[in-house]
């Protein structure tokens, strides 16, 4: 695509559902190229950086967070209508996030236990990925996402090509870096073999196992990996806990979690109930 001086800037919006905002902040990590980005893209909505709000339309809409309230479930339908290209960013938007652990739990019991006035709390019993509600054009994974992959998406839109996001296990990044496998050499359970790359093998290269925040890679054989964890002497609940993290609601991990007895702690312990009369929101 030839460089044209009077090129119109593409409208980019960032919106959030149930999330911590860490993924949208990743945009600011592209420090060296922020000016160039601003030259090509008009950021019309970016809650962490600006109080501006926009109703759309968007050339590119980056959606952070999972759908966890009735309002969000409606809002995402309208956002989809306004977006030419809808890209989910992060584990919450792509897989439900850590809050999707509620999907196994007794939602009402937790609401009663945590809030002094549960009647004010309007939340859904589930936290679900955006793709369970609307068509998603591209998912970026991770908790948080990789700034390099976010850049690649924006560049590919600007240049007009397909984004090059590698479909491979975390192991490839690990071995390219020359790291020693924590699972084989130290017996640390690691989800790297079944997890999508993109983090540059951050955890394994610091001696801990991957906890799967980038979610299952294509053809993830979570069943075989779980069996290996179990054969290593781990209790079923431990195996289940290893997969029940930021992307536990993804289909391959979900079925392993079910096979090994579900995630632990799915009903609130009695002592977490607030004292009668105290106001949790005060």
């Amino acid at each position: 695509m030839a460089t044209v001086a009077a090129r119109p800037r593409l409208r980019v919006g960032i919106v959030k559902m149930a999330s911590c905002d860490g993924c949208q902040l990743t945009l600011l990590d592209l420090e060296d190229e922020l000016l160039a980005l601003a030259d090509r893209f008009e950021i019309v909505e970016f809650p962490e950086a600006s109080s501006l709000r926009s109703a759309g339309p968007y050339d590119v809409l980056l959606v952070e967070g999972s759908v966890s309230t009735p309002d969000q479930a409606e809002e995402i339908l309208e956002l989809r209508r306004q977006a030419k290209l809808l890209v989910t960013i992060g584990a919450c938007a792509s897989y439900g996030g850590i809050q999707a652990l509620r999907n196994w739990s007794d939602h009402d019991a937790y609401r009663e236990a945590v809030y002094a006035h549960p009647e004010y709390i309007e939340s859904l019993a589930t936290a679900t990925p955006i793709a369970e509600h609307v068509k998603v054009d591209l998912e970026l994974h991770g908790c948080p996402i990789s700034p390099e992959q976010l850049r690649e998406v924006l560049v590919s839109v600007a240049v007009g090509r397909r984004p090059q996001i590698r479909e491979e296990a975390v192991c490839l990044e690990c071995k390219r870096k020359g790291a020693v496998c924590v699972m084989v050499a130290q017996g640390v359970p690691c989800l790297g073999p079944v997890t999508q790359s993109g983090c540059n093998a951050l955890c394994p290269t610091f001696g801990r196992g991957c906890y799967g925040c980038f979610g299952p890679r294509e053809q993830a054989n979570a069943t075989s990996l779980a069996r290996t964890f179990a054969l290593g002497g781990r209790e079923g609940v431990e195996v289940s806990r290893l997969f029940a993290g930021f992307t536990g609601w993804s289909a391959p991990f979900r079925s392993v979690i079910a096979e090994y007895g579900g995630p632990p702690g799915m009903t609130p312990p009695a002592e977490t109930r607030p004292e009668g009369g105290s106001d949790a929101r005060r």
Binding site: R40, V159, Q164, E168, A169, A185, N221, L225, T228
Partner: protein, 680 residues
């Protein structure tokens, strides 16, 4: 520092499984011809020499729970007294508490990381209006010295030389890196459980491709030079000639290591055997365990695949390209618009295994495997390539079998005496003798083999061995005439003469990973009993096992208690039938083939072992072939008149075969039109 004119210069595994060693470069140094001895205390002089030569030393050091290659600054960095223990999916460091520095096997990294790095810049592409340009990245190869390179790794370098430099197009970056690196090898004096260089013909002794090679002894190193550059190094080292004791101990240590590895991957015919298995159901079976994570390929010292990635600016006007390691286990690797040619993990595993052991041979003239065992150790779920090869492409039952121990009393006149331990009636006219004090050759006999049994004054009889005990064998004998009656009439502590074990055996290894169908009648169960023992002893290596057994009457069944025991296990389907029943028989009545008339199993997944009267076997073979069993997957035993048992007397000649020596177990394919032919 080996010039590429001499490439391929390292030994590499030939498809026949023997190493093709490069001719060592004559050493022209004036400093004697070696081998030399370098005292342990002087190892640092070698490192200093390399540093003075402006080289970075890449050698072994402990990092993150493993011995890996990394930059070595002094002998302090070497893994003194540290070794490793490796098994499928596991790696552990062990503290030997001694002063040895090379007493370990291979770690996850290999010199490939430096000769074929994981990420290499390729070019910078630029667009200026309508004009485009590509500027190749020019890389200066670092001056390296590899220290501690093992024989299998030398072979791997030899293989990559053929891949990158041996064809019409060459990789100049690789050439530069190879040319500028010095290689100091170490002969292995220890092996891991995952090592199999002996099978691939690459080790444990380095046979070329090095500048220097060391063999470690307690007090120091026996040193040999392989190139003038190596000899030049030796000339500057404080060495003396190695004495005879040192040379002997070095050779002995290497020999012992070779012996511990054995030959776990028989490579004879492997190329063809593997390519014949493209449609094996075993691939899907492996894929149940395989994570397609690519760890096996990443630790492999010969895998050479890569992808090219681009990173461009926002305008697409400047882009940099890099070559990165990539692997046949990833989704994108075989992808085109519309999908991946190898979308299923089973396809990817098949690609990897058949490439390493078959199609690589077609492309480059060597195997793509050097037997280093890294893919076994570093597989997160512990898939053992050796076991998979045996299951998918088991070695054919070669004949004559050189590995089989020579039978005792192997001349027609001789018998070794053995003593009857116990006698057990099976039916009205069948007895099982348990025989002790047998020659050890019997105890390592194979399932289906027989013995010639003699008592004075009677003609010797061929009797199949119906069980291999810890220190006894069983002989199950039917009273069919005076000779058999004379043996059956013996009791405990009576002695008999034995010659054997003789003949061919049931090829149990070919059944690994398959369904097994055993069809037998009457006393035909006797030679199959050791096979059943063997199948059940390693039950997990076989899929469904089905036993169909017919007898004249319920009272004519052999091993009745064992039949009940097998049926009760639940992991072997035992179906019995009789020709004539008495009142308390509730099972089926009829010929044995009726037992599987209505069975639903798929013959194409099965191997069949058949023993019984010849008529019964003919009917069985017809039924098995109708179910889709190919003739090379049906095994029968032939009964013939035998006197010598060793193919010398001529009695049992059947067409081109001696049943005693070439059989009695034959595949139907082997028998061809001999089987069932009257009067042959």
């Amino acid at each position: 520092m080996v010039a590429d004119e001499r490439m391929p210069y390292a030994p590499y595994p030939s498809p026949s499984g023997t190493a093709v060693a490069a001719t060592p470069v004559p050493v022209t140094s004036a400093n004697g011809s070696g081998p030399w001895f370098l005292a342990r205390a002087n190892l640092d002089v070698l490192l200093d020499l390399l540093h003075e030569d402006d080289r970075k030393i890449i050698g072994p050091t402990v990092a993150d729970g493993a011995i890996v290659y990394a930059e070595i600054r002094s002998v302090e960095d070497l893994p003194t007294g540290i070794g490793d223990e490796q098994s499928p999916g596991h790696y552990d460091l062990v503290d030997h508490g001694d002063r040895r520095v090379f007493d370990y096997t291979v770690g996850p990294l290999s010199p490939k990381r430096w000769t074929f790095p994981p990420v290499v810049p390729l070019n910078v592409g630029r667009r200026d209006g309508k004009a485009v340009s590509f500027e190749p990245s020019v890389l200066e190869a670092p001056r390296l010295a590899f220290l501690g390179v093992r024989a299998c790794e030398l072979a791997a370098l030899g293989i990559q030389d053929r891949v990158f430099l041996g064809g019409p197009y060459t990789d100049e970056d690789y050439r530069n890196r190879r040319r500028s690196a010095l290689v100091i090898a170490v002969n292995c004096t220890t092996a891991s459980s995952t090592c199999f260089c002996t099978s691939m013909g690459t080790g444990p002794e380095a046979r070329g491709g090095y500048d220097l090679v060391l063999t470690e002894l307690d007090e120091g190193f026996v040193v040999r030079a392989g190139t003038p550059e190596g000899a030049d190094l030796v000339a500057h080292l404080p060495v003396r000639g190695a004495d005879a004791g040192q040379m002997f101990r070095a050779a002995e240590a290497i020999g012992k290591v070779a012996a511990t590895m054995g030959d776990p991957v028989p490579t004879a015919g492997l190329h063809d055997r593997l390519l014949a298995q493209f449609d094996s159901p075993r691939w899907a079976k492996i894929a149940e365990r395989c994570l397609s994570c690519a760890n096996c390929t990443m630790v492999c010292p010969t895998c050479f695949c890569s992808s090219v990635t681009q990173r461009s600016d926002l305008d697409g006007d400047v882009s940099t390209s890099e070559r990165v390691w990539d692997f046949c286990f990833t989704a994108g690797f075989a992808k085109v618009a519309g999908g991946s040619f190898r979308s299923r993990p089973r396809d990817r595993y098949r690609q990897w295994l058949t490439h390493k052991f078959a199609t690589w041979v077609d492309q480059f003239g060597t195997f793509g495997c050097v037997g280093c065992g890294r893919c076994i150790t570093w597989c997160p779920v512990g898939i053992d390539i050796r076991a998979e090869l045996l299951q998918i492409a088991p070695p054919l039952a070669a004949r004559p079998e050189p590995a089989r121990p020579r039978p005792i009393a192997s001349t027609p006149g001789s018998f070794a005496t053995a003593r009857i331990v116990s006698v057990r009636p099976e039916t009205a006219d069948v007895m099982t003798l348990t025989v002790g004090d047998v020659d050890p050759a019997f105890l390592s006999g194979e399932f289906g083999q027989f013995a010639m049994v003699a008592v004075p004054a009677f003609p010797p009889l061929p009797i199949s061995i119906s069980r291999f005990g810890r220190d006894t064998i069983d002989l199950t004998i039917r009273a069919a005439g005076p000779a058999t009656a004379s043996i059956i009439g013996l009791g405990p502590r009576d002695e008999i003469g034995l010659r054997g074990p003789l003949g061919s055996s049931w090829p149990i290894e070919r059944a690994m990973g398959h369904d097994v169908v055993i069809v037998t009648g009457g006393i035909g169960l006797a030679p199959l009993r050791p096979l059943i023992d063997g199948l059940l002893a390693q039950r997990e290596r076989f899929d469904a096992i089905r036993l169909y057994y017919g007898a004249r009457t319920p009272n004519d069944q052999l091993y009745r208690e064992e039949l009940r025991g097998w049926a009760a296990r639940g992991d072997i389907d035992v179906q019995l039938t009789v020709d004539r029943a008495h009142d308390d028989w509730t099972g089926p009545v009829g010929v044995v083939t009726h037992l599987f008339d209505r069975a639903t199993w798929d013959g194409s997944r099965s191997l069949a072992f058949v023993c019984g009267p010849e008529r019964m076997m003919e009917a069985t073979v017809d039924a098995l072939e109708a179910r889709g069993l190919a003739p090379d997957r049906i095994f029968v035993t032939l009964e013939r008149h035998m006197e010598c048992g060793i193919g010398l007397c001529g009695h049992c000649q059947t067409g081109r075969l001696f049943v005693c020596r070439d059989g009695p177990v034959f595949s139907l394919a082997q028998l061809g039109d001999i089987f069932g032919r009257e009067g042959i």
